[in-house]
Symmetry: C2
Subunit: 392 residues, 2 copies
């Protein structure tokens, strides 16, 4: 087990009606709040009005900033930074899913920074501070509500890049599972794949002696696998929605990843897909992760046997580890298919004609390796894209 520091300071307020505490929690961090959200359903459902009312009742002044969208764009972030500076807001409240939260996070570190906010994502600067950030979560998926990271897409070259820093952790997050009752089945499934991927990026490590974390990761995966079909079949099942919502937070708040090197190759490989094709991140992960597994399992077969047996209850073939491993991967694909996700590029209607280009971009022309379980160069990533395309 590696040495580690764990400090997760986000206050989680969880349960029915908790969005009505937005004003009370926000008022602890200032008087003027930027309300950042996507629009559409959040407005139509009346959620925005409820949050505004709560903020007003707590005496807060509100600066509205809508327009958050999937795979949040740098241009929107820059616009938000300008607005926040001009209006001198004290804090940001993001209402929505990972996209609204991530653009709010980028705005939060951009406001007090003299240079261009992209510097952080380009690895040219480290964020020293952020405006305080609160969250009303509507989509359990990204785990951004308690994570120390954000992902932004730079339209100049369609670079989708993540940045991590402790200052990115939200101060508070309000999680009401009822707000997810109206999530369509496909979006629910994409969220499920995203949170499972967050756990698996941590689970697949070469670090030894991390049994406690392994057990927790496997348990979290099993629970999600159990609850997801229930939430999809019964969208207003509070228990299933609640377990999934809490799982999405725990999957990415670091408690499952301490003491080990994490991987994150699959996320980077997927980012190229969603940057070019604007496929939902979770759907992209459902395609990439099984392909990644098929490509890398020989590096540490024992871990993949453990995954198959403990997560999917595969009856172990003690004489043929490969059979056990491949059965585990197949069950992961079957699970994704069952909840309505694509597991090949063709399933998602994505042509296989830009694989070289994506492999080159993902590895910056073979100058950076992806992942730590097996560091992947351009040829490796291309091979994984080919597996995504069903090409052996």
């Amino acid at each position: 087990m590696l040495n580690f520091t764990f400090s997760n300071t986000t206050k989680i307020v969880f349960g029915r009606g908790v969005e009505e505490q937005a004003g009370k929690e926000a008022a602890k961090w200032g008087k003027k709040v930027m309300l950042h959200y996507g629009g559409g359903h959040i407005v139509r459902s009346g959620l925005k009005d409820r949050v505004v009312k709560s903020l007003q009742e707590a005496g807060l002044e509100i600066v509205e900033f809508g327009g958050a969208q999937p795979n949040p764009r740098l241009s929107l972030v820059r616009e938000g930074i300008e607005l926040a500076r001009r209006e001198k807001v004290d804090l940001i409240l993001a209402v929505g899913g990972g996209s609204a939260i991530d653009s709010a996070k980028a705005i939060g570190i951009g406001v007090p920074y003299d240079g261009d906010v992209w510097d952080f994502f380009a690895g040219k600067a480290d964020a020293k501070e952020s405006l305080p950030l609160g969250v009303v979560l509507t989509i359990p998926a990204a785990g951004s509500e308690a994570s120390n990271s954000a992902v932004v897409t730079n339209e100049d070259g369609w670079l989708k890049v993540g940045y991590g820093s402790l200052v990115l952790r939200p101060k508070f997050a309000l999680l009401n599972p009822e707000l997810t009752f109206s999530l369509p089945a496909y979006q629910t499934a994409c969220g499920v794949a995203d949170m499972m991927a967050h756990i698996m990026e941590r689970y697949f490590t070469r670090e030894k002696d991390v049994g406690f974390g392994d057990h927790l990761c496997e348990a979290a995966l099993r629970s999600i696998i159990q609850e997801a079909p229930v939430a999809i079949a019964e969208p207003e099942n509070y228990g299933a929605r609640a377990n999934i919502m809490w799982a999405s937070t725990v999957a990415h708040n670091d408690i499952l990843g301490v003491g080990r090197s994490e991987d994150w190759a699959s996320h980077n490989i997927e980012h190229e897909l969603s940057a070019i094709y604007d496929i939902a991140h979770g759907a992209g992960l459902a395609i990439v992760f099984p392909a990644w597994m098929k490509y890398v399992y020989k590096q540490d077969p024992d871990r993949f046997v453990q995954f198959a047996v403990r997560v999917f209850g595969v009856e172990q073939d003690f004489h043929n580890p490969e059979r056990t491993i491949l059965e585990g991967i197949r069950r992961l694909e079957d699970f994704f298919r069952r909840i309505g996700l694509p597991v090949t590029l063709a399933d998602a209607g994505i042509p296989a004609d830009r694989l070289e280009e994506m492999a080159k971009k993902a590895t910056a022309g073979d100058t950076r390796k992806l992942g730590s379980f097996m560091p992947l160069g351009q040829e490796d990533v291309l091979a994984i894209y080919k597996l995504c395309a069903g090409q052996a």
Copy 2:
């Protein structure tokens, strides 16, 4: 699932050599630190000297306060409060296990309080603030290093009482598994029983729709059950020691208990044993918990079947739940025995002649019920003590 708030602000620094960061972390909270510890091994092993050196190098002034002991006494707490006030210390650094931490916690809330510190434990006052508290952990067991509670024994009547408040959470905790290499097998085992009990007090709930938390609890238990015999057989096995140390923190930092009513009857029943007989808390729990399970399982057999199957891998008898349940309890007892713990009062050399007295005291003369899984009155508690004594 119940509504909940989760906020765990303790910064965990984990790994080899981290006690040398004591000065750096403590200096964030003040200039004058009270160093609270037990003595004996902490002094002989050189740990105290290393911590003192680290504090001195960070420019801190040190006020020494030794004398921490198992089942920490109120008189010691009062003495510490006097000293801390007289010396005007800014923070307290506890070096040791749950006892040193708990007396430091009680001192921490006692110093800024006008009345008597026992008021908090007697339910007469709520702590508004505490001196900042840091921890160098030497015994993985109590989980007090990141918990919001403390237990103190009042020698006037030998009342052992817990108090919980968010202000009791330490600011930082330094966890070096190497410091536990020298823990004797029996003390290691007692710690293991204590952390397992912390998980089981949360696991055995009547709350429905807490599947995600159930899975995490079961995983944590399985991991501890796997690592404990290794740590006992190979005291210097870093991996086993590290997994157990981290498990002790997670077991009690609330992540496993959110969204559910917790029980804690077994802890209260055990407190009478350790208050009177000064048996190690973990050993007492190894006696009480299986007895409690035998007494209450009929209230929700399904949960006990789930425990047997998922935690101990009992082959389920689908036609006879009781057989499955009792096999699960038997395996828990077998595990405790295997790691050298008592599972009956006789095993621990405790006579069965004060059972009525303890049952009366635990329930305050039948005026308070213990636990929430099955609220227990004086007669119930007496029956459980009798089960501890092997009397059916």
